[in-house]
Symmetry: C2
Subunit: 322 residues, 2 copies
């Protein structure tokens, strides 16, 4: 029986991680913490035990109490203010709720001398604006943040390295690329597009126009179910102090995603660019190499983009009916 502490348990990735544990590690005991409430559906995770505790990770004392009491083998740090757009509007809040909460977490682990492994989740945004010649990005790529969110994530990584090397904590780091999948909040780009298109298909929109930011940016989309299996493998097999790209290895522009959605949904839409959705200095193209994690853990992404999109459409329609 392994005990997992999951920070940010109410979030998109956590819910998929819980399902993954429920299906593959049925003996697991989970304690989840979050600043947002956690609603557990009846029979949602039938095999694992899941406890929830409301907690603000900026409060070190509460965090210490929780960790001391639960004494997990694994800590998966998924709590994050992960929106780049939000970080431009609220840079201090973004920094505190990415970097400072992580620092508090590892500091408590250090002070309590807890024998556990921590998964520090980072972001492909850390790479910043890269030259095409550098693609696909390996972990050796120099980091060059282009947003407050990215700066916060790099700071988190610096802290991880110091706590590993200086204090001997057991931390494995990720640089996770753009997740997609059912359940993601509609402030993120793909669900926002899908929502607009679902409305058009069922005749609820005035025109067949959808509004997006920069359609030419290219991202390496990876299904959240593949992401959570990567996280479990990194907890079990990742090398202490190392960081791993978690990505699909392929790039698609937002425009291409819209094309695929048109095919899947059997509709045609007109795309309008909203200048106000463009960010001060957006990374044009991000594609990662997943060689390092494949080699170390045997992980590979299994869910192609079309299947992810199909399920996002279904999820959106289901939410609409509720």
């Amino acid at each position: 029986v392994k005990k997992y502490l999951i920070t940010g348990v109410s979030g998109f990735v956590s819910r998929h991680f819980l399902r993954y544990l429920d299906e593959t590690r049925p003996d697991s005991r989970v304690k989840g913490i979050d600043i947002e409430r956690f609603v557990l559906g009846a029979g949602e995770y039938p095999h694992i035990s899941v406890e929830f505790e409301a907690a603000n990770m900026l409060d070190c004392a509460a965090l210490e109490h929780t960790l001391l009491e639960f004494s997990p083998e694994y800590i998966i740090h998924l709590a994050s203010f992960s929106s780049v757009a939000h970080s431009w509007k609220h840079p201090v809040e973004s920094f505190q709720n990415n970097t400072n909460i992580f620092l508090n977490l590892v500091e408590v682990v250090r002070r309590l001398a807890l024998p556990c492994r921590v998964l520090s989740v980072g972001s492909s945004e850390e790479y910043g604006n890269v030259q095409k010649a550098s693609l696909p990005l390996t972990e050796a790529q120099p980091l060059a943040p282009a947003s407050p969110y990215a700066a916060a994530r790099i700071s988190q990584e610096l802290i991880s390295q110091i706590y590993c090397r200086g204090y001997g904590l057991d931390i494995v780091m990720t640089r996770s690329f753009n997740h997609i999948g059912p359940g993601q909040r509609e402030s993120f780009v793909i669900p926002s597009i899908v929502r607009q298109m679902v409305r058009i298909r069922r005749g609820a929109a005035a025109t067949n126009e959808i509004v997006i930011g920069d359609g030419s940016i290219v991202r390496d989309f990876v299904d959240v179910r593949d992401v959570v299996s990567a996280y479990q493998l990194l907890l079990e097999k990742g090398e202490k102090g190392e960081f791993y790209n978690v990505c699909g290895g392929q790039g698609f522009s937002i425009r291409e995603v819209v094309d695929k959605l048109e095919q899947l949904m059997g509709i045609n839409v007109r795309v309008r660019t909203d200048e106000s959705m463009l960010r001060p200095s957006d990374n044009q193209i991000i594609i990662g190499s997943n060689n390092k994690i494949r080699k170390r853990t045997g992980w590979e992404p299994r869910i192609p983009l079309e299947r992810s999109l199909d399920e996002i459409i279904l999820d959106c329609e289901k939410r609409d009916r509720l």
Copy 2:
């Protein structure tokens, strides 16, 4: 008349910066803030106007009030918990009092849209453990923090870059090497050694033994008076968004400094290494190149190590008599 806001005004470097302004920019108006009290000697800075305000920079609201009211042209950010040793013992405190206070500062400048230039003071510690082949270190050297303090300083630099590029703030950055000079606290290595040797010379010590950490580490010592003239030149001539080494360009081991002190003071001492003063992963050797700042601003260091040491000895003797 230029208005300067100096953060950490009660500190070692600030006092020298005030004297420098008093001697070279007599019309200046200064507002100093600090969490520690600021004691102004009678007639200490006869030409400039200096006001003090007690302030904790973790309190954004107070900071906003001060900046709005004073509206400086120049902000010199000297507030810092700058001890590497302390950062190993109190990593969270170190991070907050280096990175978070700086983030609060630039965030307030951004929110108020203050038209001012900010000098973000960083540290040579950001370079971390370097290969001898990389010496002297130029600003192109990759950063590799080896202490919580260094991680905090790099995070500060990342924040500077985002606020420059993303929000258009006017920030010039430094990577300042080891400062020495009269007035430095005795928890730092050189004044601590000088104090021990002064006690030996006046017969107040039981033996002629001094206790140090690792005597073989090499540092690029630069006199604090040269540091403050560099800071003024960077405010006036530095390029926005750029970072500059502030260093002497020469390296001396702690052991060599002890030898020089023996000569200057006419005594011989025995050196004992205290293992408890060794840090988890100390940088063995740090020597910087000051080409970039020389080229851009015409700055050069003027005070040789012997003169610095001589004045530190005098200062220590004077403090002892008080």
